[in-house]
Symmetry: D2
Subunit: 310 residues, 4 copies
């Protein structure tokens, strides 16, 4: 499998981890989910991310899930695996295992203990020592979850000193000025160009594409939204992109809620046939009748709106 | 002026504080802004809130701004004043001053030093001792900003033990299940009914109205969105409410960004003639050409969409 | 091996995890370290705790370290194993493994995501479901590290609803009033009596013993300090206890520093012959010449002082 | 009054704010307290600091307290006034008022909203614009309270770009390596020398003096400890310094507790005749009989020990 590099673009879907109703890892649904995402036009996968319930898996489960996804994909699109760990020994073990199994690269978020710019840069130096120079990595910038805020100058320092950093997962909220600042440095040749994919459920995707994002890395249950918006921008159709985006926005906003968000995503994916069960592992919120009613009404309105825009 | 009570409903606008381009308090614009909001149908005002740049005012400026707003309104709609302070002596001083000047009630957010349920409840006991039993107060639940998470049971305890708590400003993100839990307690007569107005720029207003909110207390630069949605729900027009909401959602989402959000709001309010200058006091972000271009394009699309829905 | 119960008392040493200079797990030093601690009179061991660099071990390493400690001890004193994990699947796996291998109980700290009293109580309900009713557990209250503050009422609720909670590791800083509040509830028969051992490097051990602690669970490199203070209190020798404590206090204070603390502890343990290398796994601070000079001077003064008090 | 400059040294006492039993500002005790501290050999005062209950005062009270202290001192030693404020308008107002009244300089801590190195440096640029180039300021580095961690490189940047930064209040816990790093830069002429005074109740004063501190800025109720240690180091008497320090350490450690710490300090100051009442303004812990018993026993032991060392 080709390794991830700075030309990566399009939509890397943050895949859910399917469980059966009793909470066991559901490998059959894993195949179905892989097919579902591929059919909607994603150009890559990201697994074992925070929204993939990675911390709820045992090490053995993580490995068998990664293997199953890689087998089903069989090299058709690249796979990035989240390997953030509280310690470097575990990160090394997991990173080696998934790269050997055929992953294209790994993704690492900074631990919440990092408090200064220097500490962040030093941490990623240690990461590269741990995963090896030959393993391309994605720098995950997700301060709402990690509590680590990376200034553009810090990201630039990491990109400059660590050649195996090939992509930024941009998930500050929404951090549009950060994205612009980084792309400005790159266009002025002050900084090596890397791929930038954006998160946050795609909630700022139009603005991010306008400011130079190469696509999205996020998990909204309608990947066709991200695929549609990214493709429209590539085709220079700015209004078309916004039409698509606006049609999905009410539900995307709703799914992006902290708390019930992932339960909503899995509910929709089950409804759409991508996975057999919407079950989450504990601790997890349960959707109420009111939640489900809201989702269903939004889906109905969304379908009408999509027909209107054609 | 009548005091705030648990029947309060509709849209209490979180008013901005107008400054001149050189950063002075702009009292002339204050009059204009009051008129602007009133003309859009708001049923109350909230001033000196976090998004009103209250901490950037001196005590003397705060007082003269409150007086100007109260004078201009001349009792037409009630005014809630934010009096959150690092100490009770300052809170007492400000609260007395604004109630004497004719405010309908005060709003208090919990300080970030509160770490347990008991501490939160005890804090509000001290608040009531400070502002006096005769001053109605709004409990501000805004964990993204305060870092204090209030469980429904904590809010219930405050409502039960403190009769002068007449309103919850619900601004958890989005905390739909919290809102439902509180309204359930009230409908089962386990808890005295108080007013619940919602925040977050109105980003979850339809769902919140469905779950029993009495309206909104927030500051989106198109108050007619909140007014329209609230009125449509009152009239039982659920789809109409969503049509209005969806039309404004792209811009509301954009304005709700942490960081540039308030600058965007003031930009739009200036454009709409509500204030003379979009200036913020330092520290404040400056909008870039890209930001302004995005706002203008969204406003243009929004106008088209509003025509379509009629 | 007998299981941990609410009569546990004395000094449970928080054991370090020995590494070789090249960073490999050092099982030979593990034996030596076990002997060293036993010879100083500890009555129990706690391993895989936060100060034991547990997160820096792979799962396989964790298991082989636990097995080595248990083998060497051969049932002479009980062993508590830290099993805090980001997910319940991993916690279940590790907890089963160590209890099967002969541990006396497990210790669980609350994750930093818990924000309200109810969430904390619910979390420990899930913990007990995960580890099983037959596995005694230690509730670790360490807010400086976890950012979770547990009010006495929350601890009481956990103790009341979860019979397998047999011990509190009290490590609020210093939380003397919390300790008193809990012991008061217990002496008034409002709460089942559990064991309370205290942490913080023993920095408040005299006051904690006076307020009803059963001993210490901490890792200061001179375990004879904790053993001496605890035994003196049991013998009713309050001044003797303070004499011992005061003699060690300058160094205990120095070792308790966040940052270099663990490096200092390992330096002293190596110097005392308990482990072969003072190496820490990355990320870890390196002691400077100034640090070492300070430690050496304090040890020299400490020895003089110990002679004076006899 | 001479302004503060980079030669400041010795002990700047963090003065408490005396209240009467009923909570009123006690200006008579203010005089007595000033005399008490002067008689113990302090070389400066710091007022309206966090431990001085500054946020619990109204603006008018703050001003009258500052005036009273300045009047009583009548220029005998310099006074630094804490002017940290949530907004620059209030900071400007307070800073001007106290400098006009005769303060030697002001102290500013960073607000918890600062998340990156660049933001911290930019903030202090705004501070200097606010207070004026002619007002010397103390950079307060107190991460346990502010949640803002300043790397040595950030402090260096502030010192380099802002000539009116004349002193660092070093209160990281304990941040010995930071202190060494800064003094190393200064001795290599990479950084302008400024005064460094240390905090934390003096709990690491010997180590800090060895690493180049110019003295202490803290508030332990026995200022003669800090004065004694600082003078002994200046006289080259390292063991004498440690003898004094060790004698006071048990109580200094106890007073430095978060929570009851300030109540303990005021209890001791009242006992010593420095203030008429130990009252704190709400919210404040109340000392229990157990707390007071512990303090009294430590004072008794401390007096014996001081006699021993002569």
């Amino acid at each position: 499998m080709a390794k991830l590099d700075e030309t990566a673009a399009g939509v890397y879907i943050i895949a859910v981890t399917p469980f059966t109703d009793s909470g066991a890892l559901d490998l059959d649904s894993t195949d179905r989910m892989v097919d579902f995402y591929l059919e909607r036009g994603v150009t890559g996968f990201t697994i074992l991310g925070m929204m993939g319930e990675a911390p709820k898996l045992t090490l053995a489960e993580s490995r068998s899930f990664v293997k199953r996804v890689l087998n089903r994909l069989d090299g058709r699109v690249p796979v990035v695996v989240g390997v953030s760990s509280p310690g470097f020994a575990s990160m090394s073990e997991l990173s080696s295992a998934v790269m050997d199994a055929g992953a294209a690269g790994v993704m690492v978020a900074p631990p919440g203990t990092l408090k200064t710019d220097d500490q962040i840069v030093a941490y990623y130096g240690n990461v590269v020592e741990t995963i090896g120079l030959g393993t391309p990595f994605v720098l995950q910038d997700f301060p709402q979850s990690t509590n680590v805020v990376m200034a553009p100058s810090v990201i630039a320092k990491i990109v400059r000193t660590l050649p195996s950093c090939v992509m930024l997962k941009h998930e500050d909220w929404p951090g549009l000025s950060k994205l612009s600042a980084l792309r400005d440095m790159m266009s002025r040749d002050e900084l090596r160009r890397i791929s930038i994919l954006v998160g946050n459920g795609g909630l700022f995707l139009p603005e991010e594409m306008e400011r130079g994002a190469d696509g999205a890395m996020t998990g909204f249950a309608y990947p066709e939204m991200m695929v549609g918006v990214v493709n429209a921008y590539r085709a220079g159709q700015r209004d078309r992109a916004r039409d698509i985006f606006d049609a999905y926005l009410p539900l995307a906003r709703y799914e992006q809620q902290p708390g019930p968000g992932l339960a909503i995503r899995k509910y929709v994916l089950q409804k759409r046939g991508a996975i057999a069960s919407a079950a989450l592992r504990k601790p997890a919120p349960k959707l109420t009748a009111a939640d489900i009613d809201e989702v269903e009404r939004m889906i109905a309105r969304q379908e009408l709106r999509l027909k209107e825009i054609g």
